[in-house]
């Protein structure tokens, strides 16, 4: 095939060879690839823990692992997936690669800080892996005190250090993105010409910068409390364990939006390009990202409805939690309105985008259930909550991540993925996901508590369904890992703009040259103006 043609062009991939050219790179595209490898690794680690959890839950007796081991499994599943996969996933891979390109910049504002942030994630990850190998940690990913500070006999401190360090990775990524969006835009790239993916990354970065330092200082206090027993969260010394919950959720609820907002940005791109229409109500979608970032900071108390929080505070937090649904709904409605009379093609990324819209809607609406005080008392700490946030995190974020990965794969690698296999896996993931998590809504409503490895026998049917779904889901995630890897060598060579998209990232060769553009583009049109697209469009779907 055209391999010879690919070798000849200078791209960011052949600009240097050898480990050193990667480990000391300052190119945002190479750093994105480093992140891609890292988060994929952690995704499969977290996936192994998830598999063990699901296998254990096949039977009601709790006969595969001991209670202690089970506690460690769900803790390490949560920690790996949240701190080392979901939070860096879209921003640090797709965002890192495409945010500078989409605004027409040669690189991020601070390339060396970008590389540093990858190293921080790796160092934090090594601490976490050390903790896992040394014996694990069993506090739940939430680290609730005083269990985490006083009673747990597992590797809490090593894990906390890992999260603390990787938190600074997240902070530095956010800082870099904010400054880049402010200062590095190409001529003519005004704020309201930016692709919506950039807007969502900007909103995400605000949360990363404002929220993550708070979890850092909270973990620092947990560390001091556990190491020196200073009493901040210990009632025996006059401290207040619920204060920890407030500080933890002040970050960890906004962190949910760190995970899902970039996904929403990806979906905005996908819906537009595969229906060949500008996103309906661009300004509303752009500002809804900012609104989610702002309101998201004011809702953390809905995690404390059954703690010592006053009922009046509960009322306010409940109300504010309803408010955050409004900008989320704006996005969903505007995406569907974009489809209206669009020229829709059912390419793989679009299938993922559809998956996102449907599953995020279920995840979001059940979020309203648990945001209401009365209902939440019934389902607190049950599988209903588990199902709710997996619909948002897995059904939302990972769907968008997969969609974005497929959409931008030709740009990142210069090769197309195999469309048939990709569609098949998208379908498998959708079916597997729903089979895994829909039964958990019912389980939770019927009273199955989270974090138990034995349960009453009448719940077994639903648990078996869920485990069966998880097996299907695992196949769905393994397939892309195989065929994407395959496509690096055997995939069809992609042109500069295989989807006929409008973003600046498509106006340069695939894969891009080291400084992205041969000459810095001048932007004269709004985002998503398909009348400007020239060149051949590959017909898919």
């Amino acid at each position: 095939m055209n391999t010879a043609a690919i070798e000849e062009r200078e791209t960011y991939l052949n600009a240097g060879y050898g480990l050193k050219s990667w480990l000391l790179t300052k190119d945002h595209k190479r750093i994105a690839i480093l992140y891609l490898i890292t988060v994929t690794f952690f995704f499969f680690i977290g996936g192994i823990f998830a598999s063990l959890i699901r296998i254990e839950l096949l039977t009601p007796q709790g006969d595969l692992v001991s209670s202690d081991t089970y506690n460690k499994l769900f803790t390490m599943h949560g920690i790996t997936m949240i701190f080392f996969f979901l939070i860096p996933s879209i921003p640090a891979t797709l965002g890192n690669f495409f945010l500078p390109m989409m605004i027409g910049a040669r690189d991020l504002a601070f390339p060396r800080i970008n590389l540093l942030s990858w190293y921080l994630l790796v160092i934090g990850g090594l601490f976490a892996i050390f903790a896992m190998l040394a014996g694990g940690v069993d506090t739940g990913w939430t680290f609730y005190t005083p269990y985490s500070t006083t009673y747990s006999n597992t590797w809490v401190i090593a894990t906390a250090i890992g999260i603390f360090v990787s938190g600074f990775s997240s902070i530095l990524t956010g800082l870099n993105f904010i400054v880049t969006v402010h200062r590095m835009r190409a001529p003519g790239m005004t704020w309201f010409r930016m692709p919506l993916f950039v807007w969502s990354q900007y909103a995400t970065a605000i949360i990363q910068v404002l929220g993550t330092p708070v979890i850092a200082v909270t973990l620092l206090l947990v560390f001091c409390e556990r190491a020196f027993h200073i009493g901040i969260f210990d009632p025996a010394l006059g401290g207040d364990p619920v204060l920890f919950q407030h500080m933890f959720w002040f970050y960890s609820h906004p962190a949910v939006y760190i995970m899902v907002l970039p996904g929403m940005g990806v979906v905005s791109e996908l819906i537009s390009v595969y229906s060949r229409k500008p996103v309906f109500g661009y300004h509303f979608v752009a500002f809804s990202s900012i609104a989610i970032a702002v309101i998201g900071f004011l809702v953390w108390g809905h995690h404390l409805f059954v703690s010592t929080q006053s009922v009046y505070a509960g009322l306010v937090f409940s109300f504010l939690s309803y408010c955050v649904a409004i900008p989320s709904a704006v996005k969903v409605f505007n995406w569907t309105a974009t489809l209206y009379k669009g020229s829709i093609s059912f390419a793989t990324p679009m299938l993922y985008a559809f998956g996102f819209i449907g599953l995020f809607t279920i995840g979001g609406l059940t979020g309203l259930f648990v945001a209401s005080l009365g209902f939440d008392v019934h389902v607190t700490d049950t599988y209903f909550v588990i199902a709710h946030f997996h619909y948002v995190m897995v059904g939302g974020t990972i769907m968008a991540y997969m969609g974005g990965l497929h959409y931008w794969w030709p740009k990142m690698t210069g090769r197309l993925y195999p469309e048939g296999w990709a569609k098949l896996s998208a379908a498998i993931i959708f079916v597997g996901f729903n089979l895994t998590f829909f039964p958990q809504f019912i389980l939770g409503y019927l009273g199955m508590p989270r974090r138990y490895h034995f349960y009453p026998p009448e719940f077994q049917v639903l648990h078996v369904l869920s485990t069966a779904g998880a097996s299907v889901l695992a196949v769905g995630y393994l397939l892309p890992a195989i065929y994407l890897f395959w496509s690096l060598r055997y995939g069809e060579v992609a042109g500069a703009n295989p989807w006929g998209a409008t973003g600046l990232e498509w106006k340069t060769q695939s894969p891009p040259p080291v400084h992205n553009f041969d000459e810095i583009p001048v932007v004269t049109h709004e985002a998503y103006d398909y009348s400007t697209v020239v060149g051949e469009v590959i017909e898919v779907g």
Binding site: D107, I171, P213, V214, L220, G239
Partner: protein, 225 residues
């Protein structure tokens, strides 16, 4: 050799991702401001914990607070304010391209910073002598409940310790600046590192400006026995 030095100046001056020196300067400055915002949130967590426990245990916190040596605290505040002043003069000298003055003011700022840390170390030592360090040997006279008193001193050490850590980092940054200033790397056109290091230094000072009254002064009016 001269070429090498020249190339070094070039790379310090304009990095490849920027079009103009102005863009680079504005970008770096914005980066530092946003970093300082993260620092506000970082310290903010501790200020929150302090505020909450102060409201829960007003009397014990009052007693513990008045046991701190306000005179030494005030002297240290003065030292830190002077260091901010010399830092401003360093930035100004850099703007005017006065290399010698820049070096002198950087050294003065570092010395004042180190003096602050020295006084702080003396104060912490006093706490050890008085058994006011949280832990098994903690004892605070005059209050029935040791727990809340220990909470106060835990927060005292956490907050002043974290602040001191930032001072140490600041002195490190100043040494880096000094190394390059002596070699004449900063000019009136290119002095962004001095500028943003100044922002950081002033920020660390401002943290202390909040810590000092909150920890040392706020309960003086209560005339506790």
């Amino acid at each position: 050799m001269a070429d090498q030095a020249h190339a070094q100046v070039e790379t310090l001056a304009l990095r490849e991702q920027f079009d103009t020196p102005e863009q680079q300067k504005e970008t770096s400055t914005l980066g530092m401001w946003i970093f300082l915002i993260t620092e506000v949130m970082f310290f903010g967590g501790l200020f929150l914990v302090y505020t909450i426990y102060r409201n829960v245990y007003p009397t014990v916190f009052g007693r513990a607070s008045t046991s701190l040596n306000a005179t030494i605290g005030a002297v240290n505040t003065a030292v830190l304010l002077c260091s901010s002043f010399t830092m401003v003069l360093a930035v100004r000298s850099a703007q005017l391209g006065k290399r010698k003055a820049l070096v002198i003011f950087l050294i003065l700022t570092m010395l004042l910073g180190l003096m602050f840390l020295g006084v702080k170390a003396y104060e912490w030592n006093e706490k050890f002598v008085e058994h006011h360090v949280p832990g098994t040997h903690f004892h605070f006279e005059g209050v029935a409940e040791q727990g809340p008193a220990q909470l106060f001193f835990s927060l005292y050490f956490a907050m002043t310790g974290l602040h001191a850590l930032h001072m140490v980092v600041g002195v490190g940054i100043l040494s880096w600046l000094l190394y390059h200033a002596v070699r004449g790397r900063f000019t009136a056109e290119y002095m962004t590192p001095v500028d943003i290091a100044g922002l950081y230094w002033h920020f660390v000072d401002i943290i202390w400006i909040f810590l000092f009254p909150l920890l040392y002064l706020i309960d003086r009016h209560m005339n506790l026995p």
